[in-house]
């Protein structure tokens, strides 16, 4: 699995280039809302509750300026990725205490073939380890530009 495979699970419709939320719960709600709007879910409560529960075990903001809210839920059959960006930055209980700008939300089904869920997380974390990539993602104008940054060697 590589970044191209991971990006197939995302889409322009599930990309939020400038989040309005100013806190952690707001970010999660705004990102889950886009799933509802695109008919990927019919109810947001179950997924929101799952994501908040995961955050309560420790923030998923594990990288500099990046967070990966994630978890398994009965509410989906397929792994879905929602990508969002906050230009202003949001306090997300990050390890370094800095605001978080980039959010990669992974909503995984109860069972996933080939361990796609964890492998996708691993691919994203590796790719976003580069400060150059992170800086370019903050400037990308749209989903296509965002994807191009991630797929560039």
């Amino acid at each position: 699995m590589d970044i191209q495979d991971v990006l197939k699970l995302a889409s322009a419709e599930l990309f939020l280039p400038d989040l309005q939320a100013g806190d952690k719960d707001g970010v999660l709600e705004e990102m889950v809302e886009v799933l509802l709007m695109n008919r990927k879910l019919s109810s947001k409560d179950t997924v929101l509750s799952m994501l908040k529960s995961r955050e309560s075990m420790g923030s998923t903001a594990v990288g500099p300026g990046i967070a990966f809210p994630h978890g398994r839920t009965l509410a989906t059959d397929d792994l879905i990725i929602v990508i969002a960006r906050s230009l202003a930055g949001v306090p997300f209980d990050s390890i370094d205490g800095d605001p978080t700008h980039l959010f990669f939300m992974l909503i995984a089904p109860p069972q996933d073939s080939g361990n796609q869920y964890i492998r996708s997380l691993a691919v994203l974390i590796e790719k976003l380890g580069s400060a150059e990539v992170r800086a370019a993602l903050l400037k990308a104008s749209d989903f296509e530009a965002f994807s191009n940054v991630l797929t560039e060697e």
Partner: protein, 113 residues
């Protein structure tokens, strides 16, 4: 969604997390990525949620759990995703009335997603 049903779905979601947290290989992979999972915390959350389920539904849920690893399942394309039996079309309208329902075939608690 009916509050009791919502809790039951949350319970099942937490059981999914607990399954990952108790799977040595997956738990190790998550930990290496920086997402350590605490099975004791998840179990405590499950116990707390169980206390919020009313006695009737809790008893039914716990009996189901002895039979199935997935006592709560979604309905997709008119089928229970636990046993794949057809779910009567009346299910959707009754769901709208906010009732906890079970599959007529396998007995699992079902909900519409």
């Amino acid at each position: 969604m009916n509050r009791q049903l919502n809790i039951l779905v949350d319970l099942q979601n937490k059981e999914l997390s607990l399954r990952d947290a108790r799977d040595p290989e997956k738990a190790k992979q998550f930990e290496e990525l920086g997402f350590a999972m605490d099975p004791d915390k998840i179990q405590a959350d499950i116990d707390k949620l169980l206390d919020e389920v009313d006695a009737r539904h809790r008893g039914y849920y716990e009996r189901l759990k002895q039979r199935f690893p997935d006592p709560v399942v979604p309905v997709r394309d008119g089928h229970c995703t636990g046993c794949y039996a057809n779910v009567p079309t009346s299910f959707t309208s009754v769901t709208k009335e906010n009732k906890v329902q079970s599959c007529e075939s396998c007995g699992r608690i079902i909900f519409q997603i």
